[in-house]
C-alpha cells in the first residue's frame, strides 16, 4: 500500500510558525502523521511570489490525497494570495479527481458564523476544480478556545485519516461575544500605549 499524503497549505501572511493558521493546521497535520500519513507544509504567500515556488506548490497539491487549507478570514473571504493560488489550481485543473479538501478557518470576531461565506466559497472551489469536499472547521475569536480547539481537531483528524468527511463540529467557547469585545478594546488601547500612539488611534489621515 502506498503512503497517503496530506498537504497543509497555510494561508496567513504571518507564515507557518507565527500564525494561528499555521499552529492549528500543524496540529491537525500532526494527528494525520501519527496515523501514517506522509505530510508536507506550504506557505501560500511564499508560493505565489515566484514561478518556481508556485510550480512546486502546485505539484505538491497534485500529489496530495488530502489538502488542508488553513487560513484567517480576511474581509469575509480568503487573503488575496490564497485566492491567487486557487485561481492557478483552477486554471491547471491541478489534482482534479484526486485530492480531498478540508478548510480550517478562523477569524478575529468572536462569532464563528462569520466564516460561513468563506466556507461556502471553499466548497464551491472544490466543486469547480473536482476536489472532494471534506468539510471545514470554523473558529471565531480563536484565542478564547484554550484546549478545546485541539480536541476538536483530533476528532477531525481521525475521520479524515479514515478517508471520511470531517464531522460537523464546533469548538467550545470560553467567553461571550460582549466580553470578548470589551476585552479586545482594552487590549487595543494597551497595545497602542506601548507603541506610543495612544492618542492617535482615531486618526483620520485621509480626511479632506
Amino acid at each position: 500500500m502506498t503512503e497517503k499524503r496530506a498537504l497543509l497549505l497555510v494561508g496567513s501572511p504571518r507564515g507557518i510558525e507565527k500564525s494561528t493558521s499555521g499552529r492549528l493546521g500543524g496540529h491537525l497535520l500532526d494527528t494525520l502523521k501519527a496515523r501514517g500519513f506522509g505530510t508536507e507544509q506550504v506557505h501560500v504567500h511564499a508560493a505565489v511570489r515566484s514561478p518556481d515556488a508556485l510550480e512546486s506548490a502546485l505539484a505538491a497539491a497534485a500529489a496530495a490525497d488530502l489538502v488542508i487549507l488553513s487560513l484567517p478570514l480576511y474581509v469575509d473571504s480568503f487573503p488575496a494570495p490564497v485566492i491567487a493560488f486557487l485561481e492557478n489550481v483552477a486554471e491547471r485543473r491541478t489534482g482534479a479527481g484526486r485530492a480531498g479538501l478540508f478548510l480550517l478557518i478562523q477569524c478575529g470576531f468572536p462569532e464563528s458564523e462569520q466564516n460561513a461565506t468563506a466556507l461556502a466559497i471553499a466548497e464551491r472551489f472544490a466543486a469547480e476544480v473536482g476536489w472532494r469536499w471534506l468539510g471545514g472547521l470554523a473558529l471565531g475569536g480563536v484565542e478564547t478556545y484554550g484546549g478545546s480547539a485541539h480536541e476538536v481537531l483530533e476528532q477531525i483528524g481521525k475521520a479524515l485519516a479514515e478517508g471520511k468527511p470531517a464531522p460537523d463540529l464546533a469548538a467550545k467557547k470560553a467567553m461571550p461575544a460582549w466580553l470578548y469585545r470589551a476585552g479586545g478594546n482594552i487590549m487595543w488601547r494597551r497595545m497602542a500605549k506601548q507603541n506610543g500612539v495612544a492618542g492617535k488611534l482615531r486618526a483620520r489621515p485621509y480626511e479632506d
Binding site: Y74, V75, I121, R181, W188
Partner: protein, 186 residues
C-alpha cells in the same frame, strides 16, 4: 458626489461594462474614478495590524495600496468590479480590498447583533458589487451577493447592492447597472 470603481479584472475585456456603469453613475450625478488594479503595484496585506497600532489609519506598506485606500476613504460610493471567482471576488480585486482595513477603527462594535468594527471616518462610502460570470449561475451569484453584503457591514457602508452580469447576456448590462445605482441612491 464621487464614486471609485475598483476594477479587479485581469484584462480589458470588461471595459465595456465599466463604461456602461460609469454612464449610469454620471446620470445619477456621480463623478467616477476607475482604478484598474491590474496596473497597480499593491503588495498583499502582511497581517501586522500596523495600520491600527503603529501608523493609525495608514498601511505600513508604502505602495499604491495606500492611494487606493485614500481614494476609497474620500468617496461616497465604492464599486467592486470583478470576475466572480468560486462565488467570491478575484485575487485581482482582493489584493486592494485587504488593504482597506486602515480605513476602519480597531475598536469593536456590535452591528446588527454581530461583532464588527467602529468607524474611523464619520462618512463611509456605500458599496456596490458588480460581478461577471461567463453564463448565469444561481449559486455563484447568491454567494457573491452575500459576500458583498457582509463586506458592507464590515466597512460600515450605509447602503449596498450587488448584481452579476452574465457575459453571454450583454443586453442585460444596462438595466443591471441602472438598477444597482438606483438601489444605493434612493
Amino acid at each position: 458626489m464621487n464614486a471609485v470603481v475598483l476594477d479587479g479584472s485581469r484584462n480589458e475585456q470588461g471595459q465595456g461594462i465599466v463604461t456602461v456603469l460609469t454612464a449610469a453613475l454620471a446620470q445619477a450625478g456621480y463623478a467616477t474614478e476607475v482604478i484598474a488594479l491590474r496596473e497597480k503595484t499593491i503588495a498583499p496585506c502582511k497581517g501586522c495590524f500596523g495600520c491600527w497600532m503603529h501608523t493609525p489609519g495608514e498601511c505600513v506598506i508604502d505602495d499604491e495600496g495606500r492611494q487606493v485606500a485614500r481614494a476609497v476613504a474620500r468617496c461616497d460610493l465604492l464599486v467592486y468590479f470583478t470576475p466572480v471567482t468560486f462565488g467570491g471576488v478575484s485575487s485581482g480585486l482582493k489584493k486592494a480590498v485587504d488593504r482597506l482595513i486602515p480605513n476602519i477603527s480597531p475598536f469593536f462594535a456590535r452591528v446588527r447583533g454581530e461583532t464588527h468594527h467602529q468607524k474611523r471616518y464619520a462618512h463611509c462610502p456605500s458599496l456596490i458589487g458588480l460581478g461577471t460570470l461567463p453564463q448565469p449561475d444561481r449559486q455563484a451569484e447568491t454567494l457573491f451577493k452575500t459576500l458583498v453584503e457582509h463586506n458592507a457591514l464590515n466597512f460600515r457602508s450605509p447602503r449596498t447592492a450587488a448584481a452579476v452580469v452574465a457575459l453571454d447576456r450583454p443586453d442585460d448590462i444596462e438595466a443591471i447597472a441602472r438598477g444597482l445605482v438606483e438601489a444605493v441612491t434612493q
